[in-house]
Structure formats: C-alpha cells, structure tokens
C-alpha cells in the first residue's frame, strides 16, 4: 500500500518542484537546490506514511467485506482518483478569478466537482467489486508501479541522508 501511495504523491511533488526550479536557479546554488529537493522528498515520504496509516485505520474500522478484502486494489483506486481530483483544489484563486469572484458560480462549480469525484470513485469501486477483470487490471498496474516506487523510496533515503548531513554539518 505504501508503494502505491508513493507514486502519485512523488510525481506531484517532483512536478511542483520542477515548476519552481527556474526561480531557484536564478539565485540558489546547486547544493542548496539539492537541499530544497531533499526536504520536499522527505516530506512526500512522510505524507505517504500518513495516508497509508489513514487507510489502515479505515480498513480495520469498517466491516471486513467493505474494504479489507480488496484493500490493495480499492486503496489504489481511491489514491489515484483522489490525487487527480485534488489538483483543482489548489487553483481556487485562479478559478474564482475566472468566475469573476462570483461566489454562487463558484459554489456551483465546487458542488459539480464534489459530485463528479464521488461519482467517478463509486463507479470505479463498483467496477472492481463486480468485474473481476477490472480488479486484475488494477493488480497488473500495481505490479508495474512497484519498481518505480522502489526507486522513489531509494531517492527518499538518499535525500534523508543528505538532510541529516546538512543539519549536522
């Protein structure tokens, strides 16, 4: 499960780091840029652990047949869909601006966003529950994701050591 969280969370954090990189390159040394990257990656790992802990808590709290039986597959679907769906949440200001700060229009858009999220989530969870083929596809996907996730974990470990060195030195 941790490995499944690692992929979307790290992709997101790396993309955002790359978005800010040109500004860092203006005035920051390579060593300090590596430091910033390390903080970002270590916090991504912490975030993965937190999310995994939340999933484990939910799975042990709910009746076995709801979540625990297909914990990995269902968790993967929830994580991937949520990761995609959460992106507009960070562009609230831009969305409000494009709607000319009309709060009613914004609330309407937000409601569509929430309903859309729930609909897509329920659709995919139902698909897994009732179509065994879709469950197999997700499992295949997880198998392919794992090596990449291990790579990210390795990067996180290096980043952690680099930060430890920065703080001690």
């Amino acid at each position: 499960m941790l490995m499944v969280c690692v992929l979307p969370i790290h992709i997101r954090s790396i993309l955002i780091f790359l978005y800010s990189l040109p500004a860092f390159l203006l005035s920051t040394s390579i060593w300090d840029i590596l430091g910033i990257f390390s903080y970002v990656q270590v916090f991504s790992l912490i975030e993965c652990v937190l999310i995994m802990a939340a999933f484990i808590f939910i799975s042990v709290s709910l009746p076995r047949h709801i979540f625990r039986d297909k914990f990995l597959v269902q968790g993967t679907v929830i994580i991937f869909i949520t990761s995609l769906w959460i992106i507009p949440l960070h562009y609230q200001t831009e969305i409000l601006s494009s709607l000319k700060w009309n709060m009613r229009a914004y609330q309407f858009t937000a409601a569509i966003w929430v309903i859309g999220y729930l609909a897509v989530l329920v659709f995919f969870l139902a698909l897994i529950r009732y179509k065994q083929k879709s469950e197999k596809i997700i499992e295949k996907l997880i198998e392919r994701v794992l090596p990449l996730s291990f790579l990210y974990i390795l990067v996180d470990a290096v980043c952690f050591l680099l930060l430890a060195y920065r703080l001690i030195a």
Partner: protein, 506 residues
C-alpha cells in the same frame, strides 16, 4: 513636640505614590570607551519595511501621517532625497547592510541571497569586535541575510522572538539550515505561486494555521479590527516590538550596533483601532498615466488601499514616537546614534500596487533617513541625493573607523558643517528576473544626479528597451518625461549609466 517619625497617614500617602516611582526610567550608563580611553558611541538602526518617504508628512505628504517623527526630527539630520538600493527587501536591505549596490552584492532575486564575498563584507563585520552586535527582523528575507552574516552577529534573535504567533517551522527546529529550510517550507506547505508540493500535510497545516490565526485575531479584535499585523506565518504588534527595543537599549552590552527590522507598514495594512478612518478626508493624489508595467489594478480601489497604507504609517509613527520618548528620557541620545530608515517604498499609482514591479518610481524607491547624532540639538536638512549604501561608510566615519574599499557609498554629511559632493551619482537597481551570477540583461536601473533621474528598462519580454527622464525637483510626481525633449542631458546621463553598468556589473 516635633518628631521625625512619619505618621500612619503620611505612610499611606507615600504608599499611594509608590506606583509613580515605577514609571521612572532606570539610570543607564551609556558611556563606553575603548582601550585608549576614547568614548565610543552605540548605534541603533531601526528599519520600517516598505515605508515610502512620499507618504510621510515629514517629507511634505498632505496627510498628517508622521507627526511624531516630525517632532522627533527637530533634533536630527533629515535626508530629504534618500534612495533605496532597489525596490524590494532583498536589494534594499543588502545595500544598506553592505554599503554596495545590487550589481556588486548580487542580492536582487526574490528569495535571493547575496554573494558569498559579502558574507565577510558587511556592517556587522565592520563593527565587530569593537562593538557588540545584535540583530532582529520580522522579515524572512532579511533573516536570510542575517544568516549569511551570522558569525559577525553576537546576538541574533529568531523571528519568533517578537511574535504573538509563529507558524514558521524553519525558524524553530530547522534554524541551523534556515535559508534552505524556509524556501522548502514555503514550497511544501504554503506555496503562493503554485500548489504546495504536499497535499495532506499542507491541508492539515493550513487548518492548524487558520485555527491559531483565528484565535489570536479574536483575542485582539477590539484593538485590531482588521486583524493583527502579520507576514502570513508570523503575527505581531508594533507595541510588542517597541517594548522589546526599549529593553535592548537598556540590556545590551555597550557600545552596541543594533539593527532592528520591523515589518510594518508592509502589507497587510492592519493598524490599531484608533487609526482606522483617520484619513477619510476625500483627498486623492494627482492622476498619473498608466505604466507599461501596469498590473491593471482596479482604479476605484486604489484610493482606499492608499488610505489604509497611510493609516498603517500613522500607527508606525505613533509607536516610533513612544520609542523616541523613551530613548530621550534615558539620555541615550547624549552620546549615541539613532537611525530611522526603510528598505524600500510602496506605490498606489500607474496601475501598480505595493512594490512587486519592475519600475523605480519615486514612491517605491524614495525612503526616509533620519540620523540623531550624539547631543544634536537642532534639525539639519540634507537636500542633495543620498543612497542607503552611504549609511555604512557614514557610520564608520562617524565612529572613527576605516572605510573598507569594497564600500561603494560615500560619507554623507551628518550636520550642516559636513562636506559632501552634492553633484554625485546615486543608483537604484531592480533585477528580480535576472540570474544572480549572470550579467544584468533583464533589469531596470536608475541614475539620480542633481535634479534629474534617468531610468533604463531593458530585457523585458515583449517590451522594447526604453528610457525615462524626469526632473524630480521640479516634477516630483514624475509626470513629464523629458527623455526626448532634453536630448543632450539625457545622453549625458545615459552614457554615465551605461558606463557604470558596463564597469560595475559582472
């Protein structure tokens, strides 16, 4: 029969006036001498962030924004045409602290640091070890520079020292890696230009921050109806800072060099309750043409924002007046220096708000400078252009120390008897988008000489390079561009500016 014994009634009377004795300022010995027995004055520099000279009644602004500073100025030297090194905190403060222009110290990027060479060439290094040095800043960007100068700052206070609420984690347990940790913290938790890199952690942190901000704002809502003054993650009041400065004046070892950088009147403009509505007077400044760098701000909102800024300036002024009253009562000014200045100004015109702009118009680069010299009894006005890079050599000269070669500023007169080249050239540089260690290719540079100011805009995407020339003495509002109508004067200044850019830049 007379008796020396006091009666019970007298005792009760004395008891009644006992609290008054608490108001008396304690006796403080400000005199310090060196090994030769010569007296060494202490120096206290107070910087108010984003304080524009053009919005201070001290410098002729129609609104009475600074009556307390005007009163205090009666025993000081007032520099009437004083310029910042750039148009925001990084170049403004770096030039003040190093005595060098931005093309030398290279501190001109947002979140920028300054060149490694200046870690050994700055005001703290120049006064240490003869002086005890201490420094505090509300502003993170100034703290970046403090961390670079750290080995020369004897007592370096964290940002949270003067805060009601601090959500700046790098200022706490990651303080040893402050610069990188602060940049990373912004990226991970509260990125303003893009989504934060974390989803869950930033959401949790945002909820925690909002809750703690709500509590502190609610606690002080009677005094601060618009909210507590803040810098997004640090909440504070000027009262708290002024009380703290008073303590430092008493407690710091003498002689000291103290640098205190307070964020007000920087945005958000949250003054104390009695200053709100102080300038609901219907006054508005002259209309000015839209800048080519206009941010298309809503013109209808500009007067209201300017009014809020003026109210915040008045709040700063009142608190400075309180500090000055204390300083006078201690006798500090008998043999020590007090300096009041800013790092850059603020503007509400030409379609531009605040100070994040490529322009270098007067409201954004003309800042206050007042120096209270030891035992000065009357006001002197200095009317020729001066720069923040002049402060370091001037203070070194005043305290009998050698001025280092790397200093680009000049010693400016601190009294009417002083000698200064009044026809000298002053420079201001803005280069946020230019790489730190690349030659200036995307920047704005201004040359101020005599009555004139030439500004050169170059390398901006989609815009032709161009010049503007104003006679800032006859036209302080910069309404009439003389660049095409005064070609010979324009050429002379242009040659000097281009020559200086070519020789001073890397």
């Amino acid at each position: 029969m007379e008796t020396n014994m006091i009666s019970r009634r007298d005792f009760l009377k004395l008891l009644g006036i006992l609290p008054l004795s608490m108001l008396r300022v304690p006796d403080i010995d400000f005199e310090a001498t060196n090994t030769l027995g010569e007296e060494i004055p202490s120096i206290l520099i107070i910087v108010f962030d984003s304080l524009s000279a053009t919005n201070m009644s001290l410098y002729g602004y129609p609104r009475q924004t600074t009556p307390q500073i005007e009163e205090a100025a009666r025993k000081s030297t007032v520099y009437r045409r004083h310029y910042a090194g750039g148009n925001f905190t990084v170049p403004g403060t770096a030039s003040l602290l190093t005595g060098a222009y931005p093309w030398s110290h290279r501190g001109f990027n947002l979140n920028g640091v300054i060149s490694r060479a200046f870690e050994e060439q700055n005001i703290f290094q120049s006064f240490n070890p003869q002086y005890h040095t201490f420094a505090y800043s509300h502003n993170t960007l100034v703290n970046f520079q403090f961390h670079q100068f750290r080995k020369f700052i004897d007592q370096f206070f964290k940002r949270s020292e003067l805060s009601l609420l601090s959500n700046h984690y790098a200022d706490g347990f990651l303080n040893d890696d402050f610069i990188v940790a602060s940049i990373a913290e912004e990226l991970i938790l509260w990125n303003q230009n893009a989504p934060p890199s974390s989803s869950a952690i930033s959401r949790l942190d945002r909820s925690k921050r909002h809750y703690s901000e709500m509590l502190v704002n609610r606690k002080y809502s009677d005094q601060f109806p618009r909210g507590i003054p803040n810098s997004t993650i640090l909440y504070f009041t000027i009262e708290q800072a002024i009380d703290w400065i008073q303590d430092q004046i008493i407690d710091q070892p003498k002689p000291f060099l103290g640098y205190v950088h307070l964020l007000p009147p920087h945005y958000p403009y949250n003054p104390r309750e009695e200053f709100i509505g102080l300038f609901d007077d219907g006054w508005s400044p002259n209309e000015k043409p839209e800048s080519v760098f206009s941010e298309s701000r809503q013109a209808s909102q500009t007067p209201g924002l300017r009014r809020q800024y003026d109210e915040f300036v008045a709040y700063v002024d009142a608190e400075f007046g309180r500090l000055f009253g204390f300083i006078e009562s201690t006798g500090y000014l008998d043999n020590n220096y007090l300096i009041l200045t800013s790092d850059h100004g603020e503007m509400f015109e030409r379609g531009i708000w605040f100070h994040n702009t490529p322009t270098l118009y007067e409201p954004i680069v003309r800042i206050p400078l007042l120096i209270w010299n030891p035992n000065q009894n009357q006001r002197h006005d200095v009317n020729y252009p001066t720069s923040c890079v002049d402060l370091l050599p001037t203070l070194l000269n005043a305290t009998g120390q050698k001025i280092p070669e790397w200093c680009e500023g000049e010693v400016i007169s601190t009294s009417e008897y002083g000698q200064t080249d009044t026809d000298r050239s002053i420079f201001v540089v803005e280069a946020k988008e230019n790489p730190m260690y690349a030659p200036l290719r995307n920047a704005t540079a201004a040359l101020i000489k005599g009555d004139f100011k030439l500004t050169y805009y170059f390398g901006y995407d989609g815009k032709q390079d161009f010049f503007e020339l104003f006679n800032v003495m006859e036209d302080p509002e910069e309404l009439v561009d003389l660049y095409s109508t005064h070609p010979s004067h324009a050429r002379q200044l242009k040659d000097e500016l281009m020559d200086r850019l070519a020789t001073s830049d890397i």
